[in-house]
Amino acid sequence: MHIDARKLSANNIIEGDICIIGTGPAGLSIALDWMNTPYKVILLEAGGFEYDDSVQDMLSGDATGQRYFPLRSTRLAQFGGTSGHWAGMCSPFDEIDFEKRDWVPNSEWPISKKDLEPYYEQAHFPLKLGPYNYDLGFWQEQWPNLNPFPLDENVIWNKVWQLSKVSGWNGGLKQAYQDLIIKAPNIQLYTYATLVDIKGNEPVNSVQEVEINNRSNNTLKVRAKHYILAMGAIQNARMLLASNRQAKNGLGNDHDLVGRFFMEHLEVDTAEMWLLKPFPTELNHFNQQLMFWNELALRKEVLRNEKILNGTCGLSPTAYARHVTPRIDVWQNEDPRESVDNIFKSWDEAEEKAKAHNQGAIMRAFTFQTRMEQSPNPNSRITLSEKKDAFGVPLANLNWELSPLDKRSLRRINQIMAKEVGKAGIARVKLNDFLIDESDDSFPKSTNGGWHHMGTTRMGASPNKGVVDIHCQVHGINNLHVAGSGCYVTSGAPNPTLTLVAFALRLSDRIKERIKQES
Protein backbone atom coordinates (compact mmCIF):
# COMPACT_ATOMS: atom_id res chain seq x y z
CA MET A 1 0.00 0.00 0.00
CA HIS A 2 1.20 3.49 -0.79
CA ILE A 3 0.32 6.52 1.30
CA ASP A 4 1.35 10.03 0.38
CA ALA A 5 2.28 11.36 3.82
CA ARG A 6 1.58 14.94 2.71
CA LYS A 7 -2.11 14.12 2.97
CA LEU A 8 -1.91 13.00 6.56
CA SER A 9 -2.93 15.24 9.43
CA ALA A 10 -0.76 16.11 12.41
CA ASN A 11 -0.23 13.78 15.31
CA ASN A 12 -1.02 10.74 13.26
CA ILE A 13 0.56 7.68 14.83
CA ILE A 14 1.63 5.00 12.41
CA GLU A 15 2.33 1.59 13.89
CA GLY A 16 3.96 -1.53 12.55
CA ASP A 17 6.33 -4.36 13.37
CA ILE A 18 9.35 -2.91 11.67
CA CYS A 19 10.04 0.57 10.38
CA ILE A 20 12.50 0.90 7.51
CA ILE A 21 13.69 4.44 6.89
CA GLY A 22 14.95 4.82 3.35
CA THR A 23 14.08 3.10 0.07
CA GLY A 24 17.49 2.74 -1.55
CA PRO A 25 19.11 -0.64 -2.22
CA ALA A 26 19.46 -1.46 1.50
CA GLY A 27 15.95 -0.44 2.58
CA LEU A 28 14.17 -1.91 -0.43
CA SER A 29 16.07 -5.21 -0.17
CA ILE A 30 14.87 -5.58 3.41
CA ALA A 31 11.30 -4.58 2.48
CA LEU A 32 11.25 -7.16 -0.33
CA ASP A 33 12.56 -9.75 2.13
CA TRP A 34 9.62 -9.06 4.45
CA MET A 35 7.00 -9.15 1.72
CA ASN A 36 4.28 -11.73 2.29
CA THR A 37 5.22 -12.26 5.91
CA PRO A 38 2.66 -11.86 8.72
CA TYR A 39 4.44 -8.70 9.85
CA LYS A 40 3.45 -5.14 9.14
CA VAL A 41 6.26 -3.19 7.52
CA ILE A 42 6.36 0.61 7.58
CA LEU A 43 8.58 1.87 4.77
CA LEU A 44 9.43 5.57 4.88
CA GLU A 45 10.74 7.60 1.96
CA ALA A 46 11.63 11.30 2.29
CA GLY A 47 10.90 11.97 -1.36
CA GLY A 48 8.33 10.83 -3.87
CA PHE A 49 8.51 8.57 -6.88
CA GLU A 50 10.08 11.30 -8.98
CA TYR A 51 12.93 13.70 -8.39
CA ASP A 52 11.90 16.68 -6.26
CA ASP A 53 14.32 19.56 -5.90
CA SER A 54 12.90 20.71 -2.58
CA VAL A 55 13.37 17.26 -1.02
CA GLN A 56 16.88 16.99 -2.44
CA ASP A 57 17.86 20.08 -0.41
CA MET A 58 18.15 18.01 2.75
CA LEU A 59 21.17 16.26 1.20
CA SER A 60 23.09 19.52 0.92
CA GLY A 61 26.23 20.08 2.94
CA ASP A 62 29.70 21.54 2.84
CA ALA A 63 32.87 19.57 2.23
CA THR A 64 36.40 20.24 3.47
CA GLY A 65 39.67 18.34 3.08
CA GLN A 66 40.23 16.46 -0.15
CA ARG A 67 38.11 18.02 -2.87
CA TYR A 68 34.74 16.28 -3.21
CA PHE A 69 31.58 16.33 -5.27
CA PRO A 70 28.74 18.57 -4.02
CA LEU A 71 27.07 16.45 -1.36
CA ARG A 72 23.63 17.42 -2.60
CA SER A 73 24.11 15.78 -5.97
CA THR A 74 25.91 12.60 -4.91
CA ARG A 75 22.68 10.93 -3.77
CA LEU A 76 19.01 10.90 -4.70
CA ALA A 77 16.19 11.52 -2.21
CA GLN A 78 13.41 9.63 -3.93
CA PHE A 79 11.95 6.13 -4.09
CA GLY A 80 14.75 3.75 -5.09
CA GLY A 81 17.31 6.12 -3.61
CA THR A 82 20.67 6.55 -5.27
CA SER A 83 20.14 3.41 -7.36
CA GLY A 84 18.75 5.95 -9.83
CA HIS A 85 22.39 6.95 -10.41
CA TRP A 86 23.89 3.54 -9.99
CA ALA A 87 26.10 2.06 -12.71
CA GLY A 88 25.13 -1.44 -11.54
CA MET A 89 28.63 -2.77 -10.91
CA CYS A 90 28.68 -5.70 -8.50
CA SER A 91 31.49 -7.81 -7.13
CA PRO A 92 31.96 -9.26 -3.65
CA PHE A 93 34.66 -8.14 -1.24
CA ASP A 94 37.71 -10.40 -1.00
CA GLU A 95 38.56 -12.46 2.07
CA ILE A 96 41.44 -10.16 2.92
CA ASP A 97 39.06 -7.21 3.05
CA PHE A 98 37.57 -8.65 6.26
CA GLU A 99 40.90 -9.57 7.83
CA LYS A 100 42.75 -7.49 10.35
CA ARG A 101 45.80 -6.13 8.56
CA ASP A 102 48.45 -4.80 10.87
CA TRP A 103 49.59 -2.31 8.23
CA VAL A 104 46.08 -0.85 7.88
CA PRO A 105 45.11 1.01 11.06
CA ASN A 106 41.55 0.37 12.33
CA SER A 107 40.99 -2.51 9.90
CA GLU A 108 39.59 -4.99 12.39
CA TRP A 109 36.23 -6.46 11.35
CA PRO A 110 34.40 -8.51 13.99
CA ILE A 111 33.09 -10.88 11.28
CA SER A 112 34.65 -12.73 8.36
CA LYS A 113 33.61 -13.08 4.75
CA LYS A 114 32.15 -16.50 5.57
CA ASP A 115 29.52 -14.80 7.75
CA LEU A 116 28.36 -12.83 4.75
CA GLU A 117 28.74 -15.46 2.03
CA PRO A 118 25.14 -16.85 2.06
CA TYR A 119 23.75 -13.32 1.89
CA TYR A 120 25.90 -12.41 -1.10
CA GLU A 121 24.09 -15.13 -2.99
CA GLN A 122 20.69 -13.88 -1.77
CA ALA A 123 21.62 -10.31 -2.72
CA HIS A 124 21.71 -11.40 -6.36
CA PHE A 125 17.91 -11.63 -6.28
CA PRO A 126 16.90 -8.01 -5.55
CA LEU A 127 19.78 -6.71 -7.66
CA LYS A 128 18.78 -8.97 -10.58
CA LEU A 129 22.24 -10.36 -11.14
CA GLY A 130 23.32 -13.55 -12.87
CA PRO A 131 24.46 -16.69 -11.08
CA TYR A 132 26.46 -16.17 -7.90
CA ASN A 133 29.71 -17.06 -9.57
CA TYR A 134 32.68 -14.72 -9.85
CA ASP A 135 35.24 -17.18 -11.21
CA LEU A 136 36.63 -16.14 -14.56
CA GLY A 137 36.56 -19.77 -15.74
CA PHE A 138 32.78 -19.87 -15.40
CA TRP A 139 32.37 -16.76 -17.54
CA GLN A 140 34.85 -17.96 -20.13
CA GLU A 141 32.52 -20.90 -20.72
CA GLN A 142 29.71 -18.43 -21.50
CA TRP A 143 31.77 -16.24 -23.82
CA PRO A 144 34.57 -17.50 -26.05
CA ASN A 145 37.00 -14.61 -26.15
CA LEU A 146 37.64 -13.65 -22.54
CA ASN A 147 41.37 -14.29 -22.81
CA PRO A 148 43.39 -13.08 -19.85
CA PHE A 149 46.81 -11.53 -20.30
CA PRO A 150 49.57 -14.12 -19.68
CA LEU A 151 50.52 -12.69 -16.29
CA ASP A 152 52.05 -14.41 -13.28
CA GLU A 153 49.07 -15.95 -11.49
CA ASN A 154 50.90 -15.83 -8.19
CA VAL A 155 50.84 -12.07 -8.40
CA ILE A 156 47.82 -11.02 -10.46
CA TRP A 157 44.33 -12.44 -10.84
CA ASN A 158 41.28 -11.39 -12.77
CA LYS A 159 38.48 -10.04 -10.60
CA VAL A 160 35.04 -10.37 -12.13
CA TRP A 161 32.14 -7.92 -11.83
CA GLN A 162 28.56 -8.53 -12.82
CA LEU A 163 26.40 -5.69 -14.08
CA SER A 164 22.99 -5.38 -12.48
CA LYS A 165 19.83 -5.20 -14.56
CA VAL A 166 18.38 -2.69 -12.08
CA SER A 167 21.06 -0.05 -12.49
CA GLY A 168 20.30 3.62 -13.01
CA TRP A 169 20.42 3.10 -16.79
CA ASN A 170 17.29 0.98 -16.38
CA GLY A 171 15.51 3.27 -13.92
CA GLY A 172 17.13 1.81 -10.81
CA LEU A 173 15.26 -0.10 -8.13
CA LYS A 174 12.29 2.25 -8.54
CA GLN A 175 11.54 0.92 -11.98
CA ALA A 176 11.93 -2.66 -10.84
CA TYR A 177 10.08 -2.62 -7.54
CA GLN A 178 7.69 0.32 -7.26
CA ASP A 179 4.59 -1.65 -8.27
CA LEU A 180 5.58 -4.72 -6.30
CA ILE A 181 6.05 -2.75 -3.10
CA ILE A 182 2.83 -0.77 -3.56
CA LYS A 183 0.87 -3.98 -4.07
CA ALA A 184 2.43 -5.82 -1.14
CA PRO A 185 -0.36 -6.27 1.40
CA ASN A 186 1.88 -6.14 4.46
CA ILE A 187 3.96 -3.13 3.41
CA GLN A 188 2.86 0.44 3.98
CA LEU A 189 5.02 2.76 1.92
CA TYR A 190 4.89 6.40 2.98
CA THR A 191 6.37 8.88 0.54
CA TYR A 192 7.21 12.45 1.53
CA ALA A 193 7.89 11.17 5.02
CA THR A 194 11.13 12.72 6.20
CA LEU A 195 12.77 11.52 9.40
CA VAL A 196 13.37 14.46 11.74
CA ASP A 197 14.04 12.82 15.12
CA ILE A 198 14.60 9.48 16.79
CA LYS A 199 13.22 9.28 20.31
CA GLY A 200 14.41 6.78 22.86
CA ASN A 201 13.09 5.66 26.19
CA GLU A 202 14.98 6.59 29.31
CA PRO A 203 17.83 5.71 29.64
CA VAL A 204 17.91 5.51 25.85
CA ASN A 205 18.46 1.80 25.44
CA SER A 206 15.51 1.44 23.11
CA VAL A 207 13.77 3.58 20.48
CA GLN A 208 10.19 4.46 21.36
CA GLU A 209 9.20 6.25 18.20
CA VAL A 210 10.53 8.24 15.31
CA GLU A 211 9.18 11.56 14.17
CA ILE A 212 8.61 12.32 10.54
CA ASN A 213 7.66 15.51 8.80
CA ASN A 214 5.19 15.22 5.94
CA ARG A 215 6.18 18.43 4.12
CA SER A 216 2.75 19.85 4.95
CA ASN A 217 4.00 21.19 8.27
CA ASN A 218 2.74 18.18 10.14
CA THR A 219 4.79 15.97 12.39
CA LEU A 220 3.81 12.32 12.50
CA LYS A 221 5.01 9.55 14.76
CA VAL A 222 5.96 6.05 13.77
CA ARG A 223 6.10 3.30 16.37
CA ALA A 224 7.52 -0.12 15.66
CA LYS A 225 9.28 -2.98 17.38
CA HIS A 226 12.42 -2.44 15.33
CA TYR A 227 13.77 0.53 13.40
CA ILE A 228 16.19 0.30 10.52
CA LEU A 229 18.09 3.33 9.31
CA ALA A 230 18.67 2.83 5.59
CA MET A 231 19.23 6.35 4.29
CA GLY A 232 22.83 6.00 3.17
CA ALA A 233 26.04 6.41 5.14
CA ILE A 234 25.90 10.20 5.33
CA GLN A 235 22.23 10.56 6.25
CA ASN A 236 22.29 7.72 8.78
CA ALA A 237 25.18 9.36 10.63
CA ARG A 238 23.57 12.77 10.32
CA MET A 239 20.31 11.61 11.88
CA LEU A 240 22.04 9.75 14.71
CA LEU A 241 24.06 12.87 15.50
CA ALA A 242 21.07 15.17 15.16
CA SER A 243 18.86 13.05 17.44
CA ASN A 244 20.57 14.59 20.43
CA ARG A 245 17.78 15.66 22.71
CA GLN A 246 18.32 12.72 25.04
CA ALA A 247 21.96 11.96 24.34
CA LYS A 248 24.04 15.11 24.06
CA ASN A 249 26.43 13.71 21.43
CA GLY A 250 23.72 11.94 19.49
CA LEU A 251 22.40 8.40 19.56
CA GLY A 252 24.93 5.58 19.61
CA ASN A 253 27.69 8.11 19.97
CA ASP A 254 28.96 7.55 23.51
CA HIS A 255 32.42 6.89 22.09
CA ASP A 256 32.46 9.68 19.52
CA LEU A 257 32.45 7.25 16.60
CA VAL A 258 29.30 8.25 14.72
CA GLY A 259 30.27 9.96 11.49
CA ARG A 260 33.93 9.03 11.75
CA PHE A 261 35.83 6.77 9.34
CA PHE A 262 34.01 8.08 6.28
CA MET A 263 35.48 6.22 3.32
CA GLU A 264 35.25 6.55 -0.43
CA HIS A 265 36.65 4.45 -3.22
CA LEU A 266 39.44 6.11 -5.09
CA GLU A 267 38.68 5.75 -8.79
CA VAL A 268 41.60 7.38 -10.51
CA ASP A 269 43.38 7.23 -13.84
CA THR A 270 46.83 6.18 -12.70
CA ALA A 271 48.87 4.88 -15.63
CA GLU A 272 48.94 3.87 -19.27
CA MET A 273 49.74 0.34 -20.35
CA TRP A 274 51.12 0.20 -23.88
CA LEU A 275 50.88 -3.29 -25.35
CA LEU A 276 53.94 -4.19 -27.42
CA LYS A 277 51.80 -6.22 -29.79
CA PRO A 278 48.03 -6.53 -30.27
CA PHE A 279 46.44 -8.93 -27.81
CA PRO A 280 43.08 -10.25 -28.95
CA THR A 281 40.65 -10.37 -26.02
CA GLU A 282 37.25 -9.10 -24.99
CA LEU A 283 38.04 -9.60 -21.32
CA ASN A 284 38.52 -5.97 -20.48
CA HIS A 285 35.53 -4.50 -22.30
CA PHE A 286 32.15 -3.74 -20.78
CA ASN A 287 30.17 -6.71 -22.01
CA GLN A 288 26.56 -5.55 -22.11
CA GLN A 289 25.28 -8.87 -23.38
CA LEU A 290 26.99 -10.95 -20.75
CA MET A 291 26.57 -8.17 -18.14
CA PHE A 292 30.22 -8.72 -17.28
CA TRP A 293 33.29 -6.66 -16.40
CA ASN A 294 36.79 -7.58 -15.31
CA GLU A 295 39.72 -5.86 -13.63
CA LEU A 296 43.29 -6.85 -12.78
CA ALA A 297 43.74 -7.50 -9.06
CA LEU A 298 46.69 -8.34 -6.82
CA ARG A 299 46.90 -11.57 -4.84
CA LYS A 300 46.44 -11.19 -1.10
CA GLU A 301 49.98 -12.48 -0.50
CA VAL A 302 51.29 -9.57 -2.56
CA LEU A 303 49.16 -7.09 -0.59
CA ARG A 304 50.55 -8.56 2.64
CA ASN A 305 54.16 -8.51 1.50
CA GLU A 306 53.89 -5.00 0.18
CA LYS A 307 51.74 -3.80 3.12
CA ILE A 308 49.36 -1.98 0.83
CA LEU A 309 45.61 -1.53 0.44
CA ASN A 310 43.44 -3.57 -1.90
CA GLY A 311 42.81 -2.20 -5.33
CA THR A 312 42.14 -3.25 -8.91
CA CYS A 313 42.93 -1.83 -12.32
CA GLY A 314 40.26 -1.51 -14.96
CA LEU A 315 41.31 -0.89 -18.55
CA SER A 316 40.02 1.87 -20.77
CA PRO A 317 41.39 2.62 -24.27
CA THR A 318 43.98 5.38 -23.85
CA ALA A 319 42.94 7.06 -27.10
CA TYR A 320 39.64 7.73 -25.33
CA ALA A 321 40.71 8.01 -21.69
CA ARG A 322 43.20 10.80 -22.40
CA HIS A 323 40.32 13.02 -23.43
CA VAL A 324 38.04 12.25 -20.50
CA THR A 325 37.76 15.11 -18.02
CA PRO A 326 38.06 13.83 -14.44
CA ARG A 327 34.58 13.19 -13.06
CA ILE A 328 35.25 15.38 -10.05
CA ASP A 329 35.67 18.35 -12.43
CA VAL A 330 32.55 17.55 -14.41
CA TRP A 331 30.23 16.56 -11.54
CA GLN A 332 30.20 19.90 -9.73
CA ASN A 333 26.61 20.96 -10.18
CA GLU A 334 24.45 20.87 -7.03
CA ASP A 335 21.60 19.56 -9.15
CA PRO A 336 22.21 15.85 -9.77
CA ARG A 337 20.32 15.98 -13.06
CA GLU A 338 22.68 18.67 -14.37
CA SER A 339 25.72 16.76 -13.11
CA VAL A 340 24.54 13.59 -14.86
CA ASP A 341 24.01 15.53 -18.09
CA ASN A 342 27.46 17.07 -17.78
CA ILE A 343 29.14 13.74 -17.32
CA PHE A 344 27.44 12.19 -20.35
CA LYS A 345 28.35 15.26 -22.37
CA SER A 346 32.01 14.96 -21.33
CA TRP A 347 32.06 11.27 -22.29
CA ASP A 348 30.55 12.08 -25.69
CA GLU A 349 33.17 14.78 -26.24
CA ALA A 350 35.97 12.39 -25.31
CA GLU A 351 34.61 9.81 -27.72
CA GLU A 352 34.57 12.40 -30.48
CA LYS A 353 38.16 13.47 -29.75
CA ALA A 354 39.30 9.85 -29.59
CA LYS A 355 38.40 9.48 -33.27
CA ALA A 356 41.49 11.55 -34.10
CA HIS A 357 43.58 8.56 -33.01
CA ASN A 358 43.17 5.88 -35.60
CA GLN A 359 46.60 4.37 -36.02
CA GLY A 360 49.85 3.63 -34.27
CA ALA A 361 50.73 2.11 -30.95
CA ILE A 362 48.22 4.22 -29.05
CA MET A 363 45.51 2.01 -30.54
CA ARG A 364 46.77 -0.78 -28.30
CA ALA A 365 47.32 1.38 -25.22
CA PHE A 366 45.02 1.14 -22.21
CA THR A 367 44.65 3.48 -19.28
CA PHE A 368 44.53 1.92 -15.84
CA GLN A 369 41.67 3.22 -13.80
CA THR A 370 42.64 2.11 -10.33
CA ARG A 371 39.75 1.42 -8.01
CA MET A 372 41.04 1.27 -4.47
CA GLU A 373 39.84 1.14 -0.89
CA GLN A 374 40.61 4.06 1.38
CA SER A 375 42.27 3.23 4.69
CA PRO A 376 39.91 3.81 7.64
CA ASN A 377 40.70 7.24 9.01
CA PRO A 378 38.95 8.72 12.07
CA ASN A 379 39.53 12.25 10.80
CA SER A 380 37.67 11.54 7.60
CA ARG A 381 34.22 12.21 8.94
CA ILE A 382 30.67 13.50 8.83
CA THR A 383 29.73 16.21 11.32
CA LEU A 384 26.69 18.40 11.77
CA SER A 385 26.63 21.76 10.06
CA GLU A 386 25.35 24.96 11.58
CA LYS A 387 23.07 25.17 8.56
CA LYS A 388 19.72 23.43 8.84
CA ASP A 389 17.23 21.86 6.48
CA ALA A 390 13.61 22.94 6.03
CA PHE A 391 12.63 21.12 9.22
CA GLY A 392 15.36 22.57 11.43
CA VAL A 393 17.58 19.48 11.31
CA PRO A 394 21.28 20.33 10.91
CA LEU A 395 22.74 19.43 7.54
CA ALA A 396 25.78 17.16 7.18
CA ASN A 397 29.31 18.36 6.59
CA LEU A 398 32.02 16.14 5.19
CA ASN A 399 35.73 16.29 5.86
CA TRP A 400 37.22 13.81 3.39
CA GLU A 401 40.75 12.99 4.40
CA LEU A 402 43.13 10.66 2.63
CA SER A 403 46.37 9.29 4.07
CA PRO A 404 49.97 8.54 3.02
CA LEU A 405 49.07 4.82 3.01
CA ASP A 406 46.40 5.55 0.40
CA LYS A 407 48.92 7.27 -1.84
CA ARG A 408 51.66 4.70 -1.37
CA SER A 409 49.23 1.89 -2.12
CA LEU A 410 47.95 3.54 -5.27
CA ARG A 411 51.52 3.98 -6.47
CA ARG A 412 52.67 0.47 -5.56
CA ILE A 413 49.68 -1.22 -7.19
CA ASN A 414 50.60 0.45 -10.46
CA GLN A 415 54.31 -0.19 -10.10
CA ILE A 416 53.60 -3.87 -9.51
CA MET A 417 51.32 -4.00 -12.54
CA ALA A 418 54.11 -2.34 -14.56
CA LYS A 419 56.62 -4.92 -13.41
CA GLU A 420 54.29 -7.83 -14.13
CA VAL A 421 53.36 -6.81 -17.66
CA GLY A 422 57.07 -6.26 -18.28
CA LYS A 423 57.87 -9.71 -16.91
CA ALA A 424 55.28 -11.16 -19.25
CA GLY A 425 56.87 -9.27 -22.13
CA ILE A 426 53.54 -7.83 -23.21
CA ALA A 427 53.65 -4.14 -22.39
CA ARG A 428 55.30 -1.13 -20.83
CA VAL A 429 53.56 1.12 -18.32
CA LYS A 430 53.77 4.86 -17.87
CA LEU A 431 52.75 6.11 -14.45
CA ASN A 432 50.71 9.30 -14.33
CA ASP A 433 52.64 12.33 -13.11
CA PHE A 434 51.13 12.46 -9.62
CA LEU A 435 52.52 9.00 -8.82
CA ILE A 436 56.11 9.56 -9.90
CA ASP A 437 57.58 11.36 -6.89
CA GLU A 438 57.78 8.73 -4.17
CA SER A 439 58.03 11.34 -1.44
CA ASP A 440 54.75 13.00 -2.45
CA ASP A 441 51.82 11.87 -0.27
CA SER A 442 49.32 14.35 -1.65
CA PHE A 443 46.45 13.72 -4.02
CA PRO A 444 45.67 16.03 -6.93
CA LYS A 445 42.43 17.97 -7.02
CA SER A 446 41.36 15.80 -9.92
CA THR A 447 41.14 12.72 -7.66
CA ASN A 448 37.80 11.02 -8.21
CA GLY A 449 35.73 9.21 -5.66
CA GLY A 450 33.13 6.71 -6.81
CA TRP A 451 30.19 8.48 -5.10
CA HIS A 452 30.49 5.60 -2.61
CA HIS A 453 29.86 6.64 0.98
CA MET A 454 31.00 4.15 3.57
CA GLY A 455 32.05 3.69 7.15
CA THR A 456 30.28 6.37 9.20
CA THR A 457 28.53 3.89 11.51
CA ARG A 458 31.22 1.23 11.50
CA MET A 459 30.82 -2.25 12.90
CA GLY A 460 32.73 -3.15 16.04
CA ALA A 461 32.62 -5.98 18.57
CA SER A 462 32.28 -3.47 21.39
CA PRO A 463 30.90 0.08 21.70
CA ASN A 464 34.36 1.60 21.83
CA LYS A 465 35.26 -0.10 18.54
CA GLY A 466 32.15 0.60 16.52
CA VAL A 467 28.73 2.21 16.33
CA VAL A 468 26.94 -1.04 15.44
CA ASP A 469 27.52 -4.58 16.66
CA ILE A 470 28.14 -7.65 14.52
CA HIS A 471 24.41 -7.74 13.65
CA CYS A 472 24.27 -4.06 12.63
CA GLN A 473 22.36 -3.11 15.77
CA VAL A 474 23.42 0.21 17.30
CA HIS A 475 25.40 -0.64 20.42
CA GLY A 476 23.28 -0.09 23.50
CA ILE A 477 20.00 0.57 21.69
CA ASN A 478 18.34 -2.77 21.30
CA ASN A 479 15.84 -2.05 18.53
CA LEU A 480 17.76 0.42 16.39
CA HIS A 481 19.66 -0.97 13.43
CA VAL A 482 21.69 0.43 10.56
CA ALA A 483 21.57 -1.02 7.06
CA GLY A 484 24.05 -0.04 4.43
CA SER A 485 27.67 0.66 3.68
CA GLY A 486 28.00 2.89 6.74
CA CYS A 487 28.57 -0.34 8.68
CA TYR A 488 31.75 -1.16 6.76
CA VAL A 489 34.96 -1.26 8.77
CA THR A 490 37.03 -1.24 5.60
CA SER A 491 35.75 -0.49 2.17
CA GLY A 492 37.24 -3.18 -0.08
CA ALA A 493 38.01 -2.36 -3.68
CA PRO A 494 34.70 -3.26 -5.37
CA ASN A 495 31.67 -1.03 -5.65
CA PRO A 496 29.72 -1.20 -2.40
CA THR A 497 26.15 -2.02 -3.44
CA LEU A 498 26.30 -5.82 -3.60
CA THR A 499 27.98 -6.01 -0.21
CA LEU A 500 25.64 -3.53 1.43
CA VAL A 501 22.62 -5.46 0.18
CA ALA A 502 24.16 -8.66 1.54
CA PHE A 503 24.58 -6.93 4.91
CA ALA A 504 21.01 -5.65 4.75
CA LEU A 505 19.67 -9.16 4.12
CA ARG A 506 21.77 -10.51 6.98
CA LEU A 507 20.28 -7.84 9.23
CA SER A 508 16.83 -8.68 7.91
CA ASP A 509 17.27 -12.31 8.96
CA ARG A 510 18.48 -11.23 12.37
CA ILE A 511 15.44 -9.03 12.98
CA LYS A 512 13.11 -11.81 11.84
CA GLU A 513 14.68 -14.09 14.45
CA ARG A 514 14.43 -11.40 17.08
CA ILE A 515 10.77 -10.67 16.35
CA LYS A 516 9.91 -14.37 16.52
CA GLN A 517 11.67 -14.64 19.86
CA GLU A 518 10.06 -11.49 21.19
CA SER A 519 6.47 -12.42 20.27
Binding site: A271, W274, L275, L276, K277, A361, A365, Q415, A418, K419, G422, K423, G425, R428, V429, K430, L431, N432, D433, L435, I436
Partner: protein
Protein backbone atom coordinates in the same frame (compact mmCIF):
# COMPACT_ATOMS: atom_id res chain seq x y z
CA UNK B 1 105.67 6.13 -53.88
CA UNK B 2 107.26 9.20 -52.57
CA UNK B 3 108.65 9.01 -49.10
CA UNK B 4 106.13 11.66 -47.82
CA UNK B 5 103.11 9.74 -49.12
CA UNK B 6 104.44 6.50 -47.73
CA UNK B 7 104.74 8.09 -44.27
CA UNK B 8 101.15 9.43 -44.45
CA UNK B 9 99.78 6.03 -45.41
CA UNK B 10 101.66 4.31 -42.64
CA UNK B 11 100.43 6.89 -40.14
CA UNK B 12 96.82 6.45 -41.26
CA UNK B 13 97.20 2.69 -40.95
CA UNK B 14 98.57 3.00 -37.46
CA UNK B 15 95.67 5.25 -36.48
CA UNK B 16 93.13 2.89 -38.04
CA UNK B 17 94.53 -0.08 -36.19
CA UNK B 18 95.10 1.69 -32.93
CA UNK B 19 91.74 3.56 -32.49
CA UNK B 20 89.74 0.44 -31.52
CA UNK B 21 92.74 -0.71 -29.51
CA UNK B 22 92.96 2.63 -27.71
CA UNK B 23 89.18 2.59 -27.24
CA UNK B 24 89.34 -0.83 -25.69
CA UNK B 25 92.47 -0.44 -23.66
CA UNK B 26 92.90 3.23 -22.93
CA UNK B 27 89.24 4.36 -22.82
CA UNK B 28 88.13 0.86 -21.88
CA UNK B 29 85.05 0.85 -24.15
CA UNK B 30 83.92 -2.66 -24.98
CA UNK B 31 83.65 -3.45 -28.62
CA UNK B 32 79.97 -3.73 -29.44
CA UNK B 33 77.64 -3.91 -32.36
CA UNK B 34 76.24 -0.40 -32.83
CA UNK B 35 73.09 -1.88 -34.37
CA UNK B 36 72.28 -3.72 -31.18
CA UNK B 37 71.80 -0.64 -29.04
CA UNK B 38 68.34 0.13 -30.39
CA UNK B 39 65.87 -1.10 -27.71
CA UNK B 40 63.78 -3.69 -29.52
CA UNK B 41 60.77 -3.80 -27.23
CA UNK B 42 60.45 -0.07 -26.91
CA UNK B 43 60.72 0.40 -30.66
CA UNK B 44 57.37 -1.40 -30.86
CA UNK B 45 55.65 1.49 -29.09
CA UNK B 46 57.94 4.50 -29.57
CA UNK B 47 59.56 6.25 -32.48
CA UNK B 48 63.28 7.07 -32.55
CA UNK B 49 62.71 10.56 -31.19
CA UNK B 50 60.90 9.23 -28.12
CA UNK B 51 63.67 6.72 -27.54
CA UNK B 52 66.28 9.50 -27.70
CA UNK B 53 64.20 11.68 -25.43
CA UNK B 54 63.96 8.97 -22.76
CA UNK B 55 67.68 8.33 -23.28
CA UNK B 56 68.47 11.99 -22.61
CA UNK B 57 66.35 11.90 -19.46
CA UNK B 58 68.08 8.74 -18.28
CA UNK B 59 71.49 10.31 -18.82
CA UNK B 60 70.41 13.41 -16.93
CA UNK B 61 69.04 11.34 -14.04
CA UNK B 62 72.17 9.20 -13.83
CA UNK B 63 75.09 11.48 -14.76
CA UNK B 64 77.56 8.69 -14.01
CA UNK B 65 75.99 6.91 -16.99
CA UNK B 66 75.93 9.81 -19.37
CA UNK B 67 78.88 8.77 -21.55
CA UNK B 68 79.35 6.07 -24.12
CA UNK B 69 82.06 4.42 -22.07
CA UNK B 70 80.01 3.94 -18.90
CA UNK B 71 76.87 2.87 -20.76
CA UNK B 72 78.68 0.47 -23.05
CA UNK B 73 80.47 -1.02 -20.07
CA UNK B 74 77.19 -1.45 -18.23
CA UNK B 75 75.49 -3.02 -21.23
CA UNK B 76 78.27 -5.04 -22.80
CA UNK B 77 80.66 -5.93 -20.01
CA UNK B 78 79.79 -9.64 -20.04
CA UNK B 79 80.93 -10.30 -23.54
CA UNK B 80 82.65 -8.38 -26.27
CA UNK B 81 79.89 -9.13 -28.71
CA UNK B 82 76.49 -8.89 -27.09
CA UNK B 83 73.74 -9.85 -29.47
CA UNK B 84 70.32 -8.27 -29.80
CA UNK B 85 68.84 -11.46 -28.38
CA UNK B 86 71.06 -11.26 -25.36
CA UNK B 87 69.92 -7.71 -24.68
CA UNK B 88 66.30 -8.78 -25.02
CA UNK B 89 66.92 -11.54 -22.49
CA UNK B 90 68.62 -9.08 -20.15
CA UNK B 91 65.66 -6.76 -20.48
CA UNK B 92 63.30 -9.55 -19.51
CA UNK B 93 65.43 -10.63 -16.58
CA UNK B 94 65.47 -7.03 -15.32
CA UNK B 95 61.70 -7.22 -14.97
CA UNK B 96 61.99 -10.53 -13.10
CA UNK B 97 64.72 -9.18 -10.81
CA UNK B 98 63.17 -5.78 -10.23
CA UNK B 99 66.11 -4.07 -11.89
CA UNK B 100 63.84 -1.26 -13.02
CA UNK B 101 64.01 2.46 -13.41
CA UNK B 102 61.29 5.07 -13.82
CA UNK B 103 62.02 7.67 -16.45
CA UNK B 104 59.39 10.30 -17.16
CA UNK B 105 56.85 7.96 -15.57
CA UNK B 106 57.80 4.99 -17.74
CA UNK B 107 58.70 1.90 -15.73
CA UNK B 108 61.56 0.45 -17.75
CA UNK B 109 64.14 -2.26 -17.48
CA UNK B 110 67.51 -0.80 -16.61
CA UNK B 111 68.96 -2.44 -19.71
CA UNK B 112 66.52 -0.90 -22.15
CA UNK B 113 66.79 2.49 -20.44
CA UNK B 114 70.58 2.32 -20.90
CA UNK B 115 70.07 1.37 -24.54
CA UNK B 116 67.96 4.50 -24.95
CA UNK B 117 70.68 6.59 -23.34
CA UNK B 118 73.41 5.08 -25.50
CA UNK B 119 71.28 5.60 -28.58
CA UNK B 120 70.82 9.23 -27.59
CA UNK B 121 74.56 9.75 -27.00
CA UNK B 122 75.56 8.11 -30.25
CA UNK B 123 73.10 10.32 -32.10
CA UNK B 124 74.54 13.36 -30.36
CA UNK B 125 78.03 12.29 -31.45
CA UNK B 126 76.89 11.86 -35.05
CA UNK B 127 75.30 15.30 -34.99
Amino acid sequence: MKRRNFMLLVSAGVVAVSVPFVNQVYFDIPDYDKESIFPQFLSLIWDEESISDIGAKYAAKFPEESRERSLAKALFSDSASQSKDKLLALTQSDFFNGNLVTIDGWVLSKTEARQCALHYIMNQTKA
